[in-house]
Amino acid sequence: MSQSTRWFAVRQALTRKQVTTLTLLSFLLPILVWSLVSYVPFLWHPKIEIVEPGSITWLKPGMLVEQQVFLDQQLLAAEQKTAPPEGFRANPIYLPAPHEVATAFYTAFTTEPTRSSEQWLHESLWHSIQVIFWGFTLSSLIGVPLGVLCGTYVAISRLQEPFIEFFRYLPAPAFGALAVAILGIHDGPKIAIIFIGTFFQQVLIIANTTRKLDVALLEAALTLGAKKFQLLFRVVIPGILPDLYRDQRILLGWAWTYLIVAELIGTSSGITWFITQQARYKNFDNVYAAIIMIGIIGVVSDIVLARLGKRLFPWEKEQVKG
């Protein structure tokens, strides 16, 4: 059997072409479903968009009504021998078509804020990125060294980890009000929520990663004459670096999930605030565009970090995925 025709061999690497095809498909399939639902009138389309109200005075052009309601009104008009309303099948307002969202990628940036106190989209995005950056950086500055120490020295682990295990079950959002009371209403509490959401997991995950370092490497270093701190700095840290980097990438993804909560406390701001506002104004195309933008920022930054990782750690063996 030729290599290229085998799509379903258990845990066998695929060819480059197969991988590219599948990657494209993984995006194209959902877009295809979305397009079908949007552009093929008899698929779903539960509403009727009014074009011509006819004699029904409460209907307005552009209005979306339930099909049953529309049919009733048509019947009514027929009975009364007045002009029937006209319209076509449409999807609910919360499901804009792909091309509308695509346009919104541009128009969202040009949509002027409704109130002067609100931010443009690019300002919102930049604001969110800064909050994430500071929350994650502060957490890492303490969490990474503490995690490495916990994973290296049993005494430190026994002193820190029980409390951290307890604390990580406390939901970060619960500290919102407290954070506002202590840190004021601006970015302080938002950064604090990201910190609380990230930090405790970070210590535990990195401690575990550190513990996974092969003890034989430490023993080899000992027989070569390495002493206390040399073991930590010359063996433990370089030994776990690629895994630590991978952990940080995953944790950064988690930090984004806390953003939603963080941005709704204190003075609302940032991308989540933009999304909620646009939803309130029923600009659902902007809502989808903004959500997809977060996804793109996430994926692109992760790809960049993954590429960088390959550069930084040339001794890492290629990892075959799937």
């Binding site: 080899a220 027989t223 070569l224 002493k227 370089p238 001794w315």
Partner: protein
């Protein structure tokens, strides 16, 4: 076939006997005195080693052999200082050993090169720990890499090397520290037969050319006889010294010697010690007939 009359493994030619006399005159590098080790395990106290005594002299090559689980690794780890003994002591140059140190180089069975360091930096590691400058460490390291024949791979990372090459780097890395003794725990156990015999020849060559004492663990009888001056035979449960055999095969050793009378006599003795004929052997017979009845015409002809 008629049984070949083998000499006793105790018979030594004059040259071999003279060599052992000279060897025993040399200073003692390592001395193990009444060494015992017990582990606390789920099944209670396990005695891994009991009352082990032996000495190795300068530039001697000692192999330790014994059935699996008899405590060979435990012994070498105690010598390296990675475990502490429950009783007795280990003396290196007449000074007791408590902790790991660069005076005892170790090569492990598993691959323990640092994956983030190139071959060169792996070999430099110990020297840098000793406080040598980068420049001296580097030129020293390159010499050792040369010695094990890996000069072309000085900048390669461990994951780019074959198993045999990794172990050669491990040997270079251990020797770079100029240890008094090189401790090796089944270093070639994971290699294929061909690579293994090449590595054995390399090791002998290195050992002949530098001032190093070697303690080498193996469970391969041929390997032990080919390499060793003396073979320390351990028995299991608890691990005790069964016998200390002086190998009567003359040096320099060659691969052809495996069929020499001295070699075979030694091997026969080791086999007696390690696989003693006991009542247990009866249970070794497999009950083949039950599962593998085949037609007459394809029966194996004995």
């Amino acid at each position: 076939m008629t049984a070949i009359e083998l000499p006793s493994y105790l018979d030594q030619s004059e040259a071999v006997s003279a060599r052992f006399d000279k060897l025993k005159q040399r200073e003692v590098i390592l001395e193990v005195k009444h060494l015992g080790k017990q582990f606390n395990s789920q099944q209670g106290l396990v005695t891994a080693l009991r009352d082990i005594n032996f000495k190795t002299h300068r530039r001697e090559f000692v192999c330790v052999i014994g059935p699996s689980g008899c405590g060979k690794s435990t012994l070498i780890r105690i010598l390296a200082g990675l475990e502490s003994p429950s009783s007795g002591e280990v003396l290196l140059d007449n000074k007791p050993v408590f902790e790991p140190g660069p005076d005892r180089g170790m090569v492990f069975q598993g691959y323990t090169l640092f994956p983030w360091l190139s071959v060169k930096h792996n070999v430099m590691f110990g020297l840098e720990m000793q406080g040598h400058t980068k420049a001296t460490a580097e030129s020293e390291a390159l010499n050792w890499i040369d010695l094990v024949g890996l000069e072309k791979f000085a900048d390669a990372y461990p994951h780019q090397l074959s198993g045999g090459m990794k172990q050669r780097v491990a040997i270079a890395r251990a020797l770079a520290n100029k240890p008094r003794i090189l401790l090796m725990d089944e270093p070639f156990g994971a290699l294929d037969a061909q690579t293994r015999s090449k590595m054995q020849a390399n090791l002998i060559e290195i050992w002949r050319n530098i001032d190093i004492t070697v303690l080498f663990i193996t469970h391969d009888l041929d390997e032990a006889i080919y390499l060793a001056d003396r073979i320390l035979v351990l028995k299991a449960n608890p691990g005790e010294v069964e016998e200390l055999i002086e190998v009567p095969v003359p040096r320099p050793r060659t691969a052809d010697q495996v069929i020499s009378p001295e070699f075979l006599a030694t091997k026969k003795r080791l086999e007696e010690l390690i696989h003693p004929p006991t009542a247990e052997d009866d249970t070794d017979e497999l009950h083949m007939i039950r599962m593998t009845h085949v037609g007459d015409d394809v029966e194996v002809m004995d």
